[in-house]
Structure formats: C-alpha cells, structure tokens
Amino acid sequence: MRKPRVAKTADVPRAPAKRAASPLRTKGDPGARTLMVIAATAAFFAISALMVLAAGTQLVSQWRWAFDGAVTIQIPATGDAAADTTRAAALATALEASDQVARARALGPQEIERLIEPWLGSLDGTGSIPLPRLIDVRLVSGATLDLAALERRVKSVVPEAVIDDHGRWVQGLGQLARTVEVLAVTVLALVGLAVVLAVGLAARTALALHRETVDILHLMGAEDGYVAGLLGRLVFRRTLVGGLIGLALALATLSLAGQIGSGVGAVLPPLTIGMEGWIAILTAPLTMAVISWLVARTSALAALRRRV
C-alpha cells in the first residue's frame, strides 16, 4: 500500500482564479422565487403609494400656489355684453388702486368660454349663453386679505358683484392633501410591515431549508455573523431583483395612467412628480433590499443564537 505523500508544488494543477462560490445554494430554491414575487408585489404597491404621495403633494402644492393670494370676482351677466365688459373693466381699474391689490385683470369673453368649455363644450364666441364676467385679482405678496374692505370697494363700483377668496378651496385642498398623505403613508407602512414579516419568515425558512449546510458551516467554525451575512446577501439580491421588477411594473402603470389621464387633461392638470418624489421612487427597490437584508440578518442571528 503506497503511503500518500504531499506533492511538490510544481506537480500540482493550478486552480483557475475565480470568485468563491456561496456555500448557500440559490438555484432551484423554491423560496427564492416566492420571495422575489413578494418583493415585486410589495415594491409595486409601495412605489404606487409613493407616486400617489409625490404627485398628490405636488398637485396640491400647485393648486395652493395658484389660489394662495388670489381672489376672483364675478359679475353676473345682465344680457348686455358690452355693458358687462365696461363694468368689469371699471371694477378692475378701481381695484388696482387699492393698496392690497397687486394686479386686477378682467378676463375676456374668450378666456371665460375656454374655462367652461370642458363642461359646456365649445361656444365659438357666439355669445349664445350670457356669461358672467370674471376679474382675476392678485393680492400684494404677503398682504393679509381684508375681505370686508375689499368687498366695500367692489360693491361701491358694482353692487351685485360676488367675491370668491378661494378659502373653501384652499381649506378643502389642505384636507385632501392630508388625506392623501395619510393614505399613502398607511399603505407604505403596511407594505413595509408585510415586507419585514415576509423577509423574516423567508430568512427562517431559508435557514431551515439550508439547515444541513448551515450545520456544516457551524461545525467548521463559521461565526453566526458569517452565516447571517450569507443569508442576508441572498435575501438582498432576491428583494432587489423583485423590487426592480415592481418598479418597472409601477412605471408602466404610471405611463398607462398618464395616457388615459391625457384624455381628461382639460379638467385635471398634468400630474407631476417632483425631484424628491423621483429619488424616493427610483431608490425604493434599493431601500427595500437594504431593509430586507437587515431583517434577514437579524432574524438569522436570532435563530442561530438558539443553537449550540
């Protein structure tokens, strides 16, 4: 019987330099696809909620900006269009003389027709319907509206004029903004909770699935952090891929919604997502993967500490 001898280095075949394979097998792992699908679904909902939050906040901000410091004065139609135009111009001139008012502009008949076109259709300047005259008043920046004083001035020129300070709108928009925020944040929190629970479960399942390998590593002297790190990286990769799929689906849905929305664009202003919104949306898969990595690592460490 030949006793084995250690070979001389020169006789020994060289191993090709390559990256160390992970001791945890990923191919054919049924948990991998499930976690990826969960991540994709969660990312889709989270990103959709982020889009709603970002677009809603942006929209409300635009509306607020448009209405803040603005007053609209309406002069009911008398049936004599020329007289209505003269009265509107006179009132605009009188208002511009006020210290509170930066600018007062009487809207022309075509402008007013365009405003009501989405509801009544094109009037083609026929004057077939008597339209009220509108005066767009912009207040001096930072000025507090003295509604009573403004009303006295308006009534002194056109007694039947009605003032709309958009207070109801602004208040309603504030409520709408808060509702949208609460809804979106609730969806985000629920999705986050679902991801944390799913990833925690996936980590424990992966530990059970790879128990044999984990035991071998453990007996060979692998520290808990090493094994938890392997699981964390496994979960990170899967949730990142799933998150990117969810992002792609959410962007496709946004694009589709944009195309459908363009049909009613005359009623609703175009939805825009600000820079901060885009940053949050585009980094959502990475954020989700990092949270998942942390959860998987923590769950794995807790499970490993229960062993010898």
């Binding site: 084995p4 070979a7 020994v12 390998t213 590593l217 060979m220 002297g221 520290e223």
Partner: protein, 224 residues
C-alpha cells in the same frame, strides 16, 4: 452527557488527548462513540462536568470563541457532510475561507491537498459526481486543509473496503506526523490492531481504557 430527561448516554468519562498524539476510539454500536465525538467537535456541550479544549473550558467560551475553537478542529464525518452544490475545490477551500485566508493562498493549497488525496483531476467535480471513496477523501482533505490541532474522524472506515480503510488510516497517520492530535472512532477492531496507537474503549457510555499513552499534559481534555 444526557439529552433532556433521558438516561445518561455518557457517564464518568475522563480522558486527555495529548498534542500530536493518535488515539482510536472504539466500542460497539450504541456505546456512545458518536456522542463523544460530537462533544469533542463541539456539536454538543456537556450537560454536566467539564470539557476542556486547548486549555479552555468550552462552557465558558463566548460564541465567537467557540467558533474559533471549532476552526482548530478538523472533522471527518461518517456521512462526509460535503456541501452538494460546491465543487471538490470549494468544499476543501471552505475552512480556509472561514479563517479569512486570501484567495491566492487558497488557490495554491487546495489543489496541492487534493493531489495529496489523489483527486487532482477532480477539482471541479461536485460530490455527487464522485464515488463514495472519492467523497470521503474530499472530506478528509477539508478536515486537514487548515492543519487542525485536533483531527477527529467518526467511523471513517465504516463504508469502505479494507484496502481503502488502510489508505485512509495512513492519511490520518500522516497528519499525526505533521503535528495534529488525531482521534479516530471506529468499531473495526481488526484495523485498529494493525496500528500501535492507544485506544479509548467505550462500553455502554463508560470509558474502559486499553493501551497506553493517555497520561501527560492535556491538549484536549474531556471529562464527563
């Protein structure tokens, strides 16, 4: 040693393994050899008594120190316990990677050792593509790659013919000459009788000493 409320599996075990020594651990099936081996490679901790490895009471070690102690022990498991999806190269490289050895050193040492066990042509083979004997040699290469202070082999000759069993024991003898303390658990009395090394004999969970060489300074000391 006992599990839960069960009867003692090992009782009054008291022995020491010197550095660089070679021992056989023998006894009939069910005598407690595997349990004693599990205690020695720290898959289990004693339910009472003391187990001292490399001068440390293992029950007082932190988890990190337990892991570090395990890295000083090479184990050849009865069922090999190779990682099925890793190649022979990667299986053997694992202990080095766990010890933080750089890739260059790993790429140099692993092929050398696989050549030593006669598997130089199977670096990229996964275990299931190899025979039982070849898998066992990978398991041995993995156990010795990091030059462990203590090398434990649990029934390494259980599923092989006499010729291969002798070859395996020569491999362990070679490691013993290179400085590792070696304990081989086996119930193959005929094989044990061919080597001049002392034997620890277990019977019904108790240790019956046979042969000499068990006195002296402790390297790995078990008392149960």
């Amino acid at each position: 040693m006992r599990f839960g409320r069960s009867a003692d599996i090992l009782t009054d075990i008291d022995f020491a393994v010197e550095p660089g020594s070679f021992h056989f651990l023998t006894g009939p099936s069910g005598a407690g050899k595997s349990t004693l081996m599990k205690l020695m490679y720290l898959a289990l901790l004693p339910s009472r008594g003391a187990l001292t490895l490399f001068g440390h009471d293992v029950r007082k070690l932190s988890r990190r120190d337990l892991a570090a102690t395990r890295r000083e022990i090479g184990v050849v498991f009865q069922d090999f316990r190779l990682i099925r999806h890793l190649t022979a190269f990667e299986n053997v490289a694992l202990p080095l990677r766990l010890s933080g050895i750089d890739d260059r050193t790993v790429n140099r040492h692993v092929p050398e050792l696989l050549d030593w066990v006669g598997l130089a042509d199977h670096l990229d083979a996964v275990p299931q593509a190899l025979s039982g004997g070849q898998q066992q040699r990978i398991a041995i290469a993995r156990a010795v790659i990091s030059r462990p202070k203590l090398l434990l082999a649990d029934e390494p000759t259980g599923n092989v013919d006499d010729r291969l069993a002798m070859r395996l024991l020569y491999l362990f003898e070679e490691m013993h000459r290179m400085g590792s303390a070696v304990v081989v658990a086996t119930h193959n009395e005929a094989l044990v009788s061919r080597f001049p090394y002392p034997r620890l004999m277990l019977e019904r969970g108790r240790l019956a000493r046979v042969g000499g060489g068990m006195a002296g300074r402790d390297e790995s000391r078990g008392r149960q």
